[in-house]
Subunit: 440 residues, 2 copies
């Protein structure tokens, strides 16, 4: 890596509707491996990245360093095999100028696509336009590979007020979530006009993506809240081992998986039939539900093994449904133990959350473990940042959470203190930008 010895002219910005890949004169496949040539003479690129499988963002990349394709029918970062680390930010729009917002969405799209191949957020990179230019990338990921970065956008219900003329285009399914029993929501950890979810296998790459998105938005958006997730607590692919949450249990064994496309179509992607008329822009999209779930780990840690296992409905070490032996054995809710009581108690988490007890409801979970300092009264502030992608929150997340909030014995140990809902538009086509169909 060397520095340029002379000021470097910025790459011109692509006009709306012009493919950045076309602009760069490289094919989609070459854009990944050949980025060092494409972006301004080589100085503005990060480390060389291995070629990715271009087939789909749902395909596991060849290595943890490799890039995930940005464009496609659906946004990446949803059925993409869950990366190890996450930085999530919710933003409020501070302008009332629709054109500024659209301009930002275009800039963000370009930045996200660049960063996912391991390039700097904008042309000019970390060394700017010569010594008196302001660097166009903050630089902390310079030299790091693509690291499987995905950047995913969502639009909150509050975006569809009268500021930007979007009220008529709000999908019926995008309603603020109802209050749930036991909620203790902090408004400073809830809501938001927009969200950006950045996931990567290197946290520096995920943080870099959010930070540059925020930077590009100065004067147009401001940070409402953000959350770092240090470790994934869901698998979204059969190629991944099930991780453990901070209760020490395997989490998401029964999660929807990328390898079940029919299930994903049924439960995750919005179909054209779901969004007639002015909300048709959401076809191919999905809804993101975020819940910051503080775990009272101190109380949990004082309970005995049987209580813990009865609460979850699975064994702690293996993750098997109670009464079964292996993690992926099907739970048998009719099975009784030696005491003639149900092997999986009636108020166990897996029983209440299981699709067979929720009229077939399934969700795609993609959450992360977090720890954020202390709670101020002598404990670690730790828990699970729950993210789920669903086709219709009112028909999936809401009834599921109502059932859990009413009966789940796990509630003794957790507290929902942040909540947000976002509509994630479909993937970006060549030449398009995030939300283009909404603003068209």
């Amino acid at each position: 890596m060397t520095e340029p010895t002379a000021p470097v002219a910025s790459e011109p910005q692509p006009a709306s509707g012009v493919s950045r890949r076309g602009l760069l004169g490289v094919s989609a496949g070459a854009a990944v491996a050949g980025v060092a040539v494409g972006f301004g003479g080589g100085y503005a690129t990060r480390a060389a990245a291995a070629p990715a499988d271009e087939a789909s963002p749902a395909t596991a990349p060849a290595s943890l360093d490799a890039p995930i394709p940005f464009r496609g029918a659906h946004q990446a970062g949803i059925v993409t095999p869950a990366q190890d680390r996450m930085h999530f930010v919710a933003l409020d729009v501070v302008t009332k100028d629709r054109a500024q917002l659209v301009d930002l969405l275009k800039k963000w799209t370009r930045a996200a696509e660049r960063m996912t191949v391991g390039a700097e957020a904008a042309p000019g990179g970390v060394v700017g336009g010569g010594p008196y230019g302001v660097p166009q990338d903050t630089g902390e990921a310079f030299g790091l590979p693509a690291s499987g970065l995905t950047v995913t956008i969502g639009f909150g219900p509050s975006l569809f007020d009268d500021r930007f003329g979007l009220a008529a285009r709000r999908p019926t399914a995008l309603q603020a979530l109802p209050a749930f029993r036991g909620d203790d929501l902090d408004p400073t950890r809830s809501g938001g006009d927009l969200c950006i979810q950045a996931c990567a296998n290197d946290p520096q790459v995920a943080v870099h993506a959010v930070r540059n998105v925020v930077r590009l938005g100065f004067g147009v958006v401001s940070v409402r809240w953000s959350q770092l997730g240090f470790g994934r607590t869901s698998s979204t692919s059969t190629t991944q081992a099930t991780p453990r949450n901070l209760f020490g249990f395997k989490d998401g064994t029964n999660n929807l998986k990328a390898e079940e496309p029919a299930e994903i179509d049924d439960h995750v992607w919005v179909s054209t039939a779901d969004v007639p008329g002015a909300a048709a822009w959401m076809a191919g999209g999905t809804y993101l539900v975020a819940r910051r779930i503080r775990m009272h780990i101190e109380v949990w840690d004082r309970t005995n093994l049987q209580d813990q296992q009865d609460t979850i409905g699975r064994t702690k070490a293996a993750g098997a449904p109670l009464g079964k032996e292996k993690e992926f054995d099907e739970p048998d809710f009719a099975l009784k133990g030696a005491d003639n009581e149900p092997a999986i108690p009636v108020d166990a988490h897996v029983r209440l959350a299981h699709s067979s007890n929720l009229n077939g409801i399934k969700i795609l979970r993609r959450g992360y473990n977090f720890t954020d300092g202390t709670d101020g009264v002598g404990h670690l502030d730790a828990g699970l940042f729950f993210i789920a992608f669903v086709r219709d929150p009112g028909k999936q997340f809401v009834p599921m959470q109502q059932a859990l909030a009413a009966k789940d014995v796990l509630n003794e140990y957790i507290e929902h203190n942040g909540s947000a809902l976002f509509a994630c538009p479909p993937g970006v086509a060549e030449g398009g930008y995030w939300g283009d169909a909404l603003f068209a």
Copy 2:
């Protein structure tokens, strides 16, 4: 991994002074690879770990998964090549009973040693003593390898008051840090009777270590503050590439390195001559200075490249001292540019922090980048959790920070809002426990 089919008797606790390795009947070398046999029949171990080089905690392990030796002349986690992730906790002692504190230090020592080889924190592991036993490990790292975990303890100045009879044993060098110009310290992010630094290549393993340490301390200690570091921002070994901080600059190029043992002896380890009399327990130890440095990244990101480079004194892309070409070129503070001004400005960070301008002062930096949600007014709360290990804070960190606080132009972009100092005792000998010489 299978679950035990019958309740498992707990391993007896080693009596004070008995080597745990001796107790387990395995040699030090075998303890690492053979841990599955050693700890209670195999159920309580995590994933198999590769054998470590037992020579020294300063030796880079064979892989990111491998264990780092716990015992030795010095504590691990200091000159150990900096792992990728960190969880740090400062604790206050809430008992006045010295025996309870000593008992906890023994339990912590055992837990730390167990966790560093990839075992659960205490015998009984995640499945406890049968169904009605409380799990002796919280379980979220069950199945994960050792991941290079190191667990390092420090004692704060406040521990040496009249509660535990330690006042006379306080080393002269362990004085609360003076106020520095520009400090904006938050008492809820500062100080502490004790600290535990857990570093690992998997954040789940580092968080697990801190969480189990906190758990073992219920009723004896409470959490004062904690900090997650998502990525290392220093190299402590010539085998490591220099990482970048959140200003996008390579950080710690000139850091002390494990491969320079004479320098480490001169600048990091406390010698017997430093601590005569009642403070002799600190020989072989070191002092840990922690500073939470919020970075005003928004302001920084608006400055041009030359301003940024002049502030740091290095080029952004390559990390070369200004006027030179390569990262590891020696800075030339006499060199002048075409304008006849110093190539490295008189108020540049590297000039002020360089040993040649500080009467030879050097420190071992081992900090981490952090991001902790938002600041409440629209920005990310991000920065650098500075950790330095020094032989004498009053002769090294204090004059260095006084020089920086007075003149460093970087102060325009940063704010120290947390601060703490701890005395890290020497390494634990076979049969010993953390701080045994202090409490003897």
